[in-house]
């Protein structure tokens, strides 16, 4: 999320991640034979021992298993799949929160994520302080953030509550602020994880409108994870179907939805 980095290519042993802000690249996101293996230990003690010795046994589970797909710039791609298909893990790797075990990931452009909207705020700080903190972490200058903040506050409809500590907010209020921030900071790539059912019906409609307007803005690439095939059809032009961390189907959204509903 740091904007100061022009290009970053990091090798993590067998895995490599390339991140830059090259908006002219026709590819926005590319996954090339990506595996993500979670290590499951019997308990925390085993996990601690494993940091000192290589002989501790553990189970492994592949959340992404040889996952390959490509998302072109300006495209709206839907990721369809049942629970545990590895959709969220894939999105987390795109945002850079977690690291692949092997394979190659390319991300060209700044990523903003609407993942678990109410999470990721500091409960002890006020709404306003959280927004300022996020702006800094996103790498915005003072001037840029001062310009964006009124819009964020207005969109969140929090009113006077914005200066109250976050822990006093309801979950709907947190999610509203989270959505307002993530959708206001002009990303190149927007990652949406079933976030569009935020708050009441009126606000949810407002969110859907905002996402469509972002998507109409040229160049913004959207990756959309959902169980709702109707929303996927509304927003996306292409879809891929995941199961057990693998790509089962990739193609036009109508075909993808049909494939998903028939399996």
């Amino acid at each position: 999320m740091s904007s100061s980095v022009a290009s970053q290519a990091i090798d993590y042993g067998e895995a490599s991640v390339v991140r830059d802000e090259d908006r002219s690249n026709p590819i926005a996101v590319r996954f090339d034979h990506v595996c993500k293996t979670y290590k499951l230990y019997k308990n925390d003690r085993q996990r601690l021992l494993a940091t000192f010795s290589n002989r501790v046994k553990c189970d492994t589970i592949n959340a992404s298993d040889d996952l390959t797909f490509e998302c072109r710039r300006g495209e709206a791609l839907a990721l369809l799949g049942d629970n545990g298909a590895g959709k969220s893990t894939a999105l987390k790797m795109i945002t850079g929160v977690c690291f692949p075990t092997s394979g190659r990931i390319e991300v060209h452009g700044r990523v903003s994520a609407l993942l678990e909207l109410s999470a990721g705020f500091d409960m002890r700080l006020s709404g306003m302080e959280n927004v300022r903190l996020r702006c800094q972490l996103w790498g915005l200058s003072k001037g840029e953030s001062e310009e964006l903040i009124p819009g964020i506050v207005e969109f969140s409809e929090l009113g006077k509550y914005i200066d109250q500590p976050m822990r006093t907010y309801s979950s709907g209020m947190r999610a509203r602020l989270g959505f307002a921030f993530a959708s206001s900071i002009r990303p190149d790539i927007l990652v949406v994880d079933e976030a569009l059912s935020v708050g009441d019906r009126k606000f949810a409609a407002k969110c859907r409108k905002r996402v469509s307007s972002i998507m109409e803005k040229e160049g913004v690439t959207v990756l959309f994870v959902t169980h709702s095939t109707s929303q996927a059809k509304q927003f996306c032009s292409r879809g891929i179907v995941l199961s057990h961390g693998k790509t089962l189907f990739s193609g036009g959204i109508d075909d993808a939805v049909e494939f998903y509903e028939n399996t």
């Binding site: 740091s2 925390d44 601690l48 940091t51 929160v97 990721g120 705020f121 002890r124 700080l125 800094q136």
Partner: protein, 268 residues
């Protein structure tokens, strides 16, 4: 190892503008929710010093002037650094749990969390040092040129405790037992490190062992500036063991960080 060191340094360099602001936000977070706010950052150490002074000086009648300087100054120059180190041991050793959302909700370099947290407690420490200085000037306590090494001592302490935090935080994130173990060690550190007694009163063997205790070295170094009036490099039998410990901590920090930083977001 070298690659990990380069990675940590470049992460910190890239985020240098944010580190200061994040440290300030950490301070706000600490005193938020209290009407008196900032006052609490300084009240706790002040109360502790008065209590120790009362116990040692009035109660046990063992509070004599040290090297011609007032006992209260000797006490303050031990207890103020201890408060810094106590935070570094208790919270700094498990700092990812203080900022879970920076670990697994946002893309943020883990090593920078250690840096800005240590900086935030360093700011408090610097304020208490300025306060001590002001009180000395107002009450006419004699200060010397040895005070000039205080900034150097503070930089050394800062780097050491950042490395300490990078060394232990990944282990603390993986295992709650481990972070509890370190927190349990904080009380022995306090009583054994010569904060409330003079290390020179220990038997020879005790002094040898204490030379490997980083808390003891830091406290002695701050007291060198105010009370003992010696340069920190004038006693190599204390400086060299500390530097050895410093090197070991840095190496372990690189090893643990390299081994675990990809796993931490998965387990926290």
């Amino acid at each position: 190892m070298l690659a990990t060191l380069k990675q940590i340094l470049s992460e910190n360099w890239q985020w240098r503008h944010q580190i200061w602001d994040l440290a300030k936000i950490d301070l706000i977070k600490t005193y938020r929710g209290a009407a008196l706010g900032k006052v609490w950052l300084f009240t706790k150490p002040a109360v502790y010093i008065l209590v120790y002074w009362f116990t040692l000086s009035v109660g046990m009648r063992s509070g004599h002037d040290v090297n011609g300087q007032p006992f209260l100054l000797w006490l303050a120059t031990g207890v103020f650094p201890w408060f810094f180190m106590s935070d570094a041991i208790n919270t700094g050793s498990d700092v990812y749990r203080r900022y879970p959302y920076l670990v697994n909700r946002l893309k943020f370099p883990l090593s920078v969390i250690s840096t800005f947290y240590t900086l935030s407690i360093m700011i408090i420490f610097a304020c208490t040092m300025l306060f001590t200085l002001a009180v000395c000037l107002l009450t006419g306590v004699h200060l010397s040129r040895y005070l000039l090494q205080l900034p150097l001592v503070m930089v050394i302490m800062f780097v050491f405790w950042v490395a300490w935090s990078i060394m232990l935080s990944p282990l603390g994130a993986v295992s709650k037992d481990f972070s509890n173990l370190i927190k349990t060690l904080s009380t022995p550190f306090f009583w054994l490190s010569g904060i409330l007694f003079q290390l020179s009163s220990l038997p020879e063997i005790g002094q040898r062992v204490m030379a490997f205790n980083p808390v003891a070295w830091c406290v002695e170094a701050v007291r060198d500036c105010f009370v003992y009036k010696e340069w920190i490099w004038e006693r190599p039998d204390e400086l060299i063991p500390f530097l050895v410990v410093f090197a070991v901590v840095v190496l372990l920090a690189l090893r643990n960080f390299k081994r675990l930083y990809k796993e931490v977001p998965d387990v926290l």
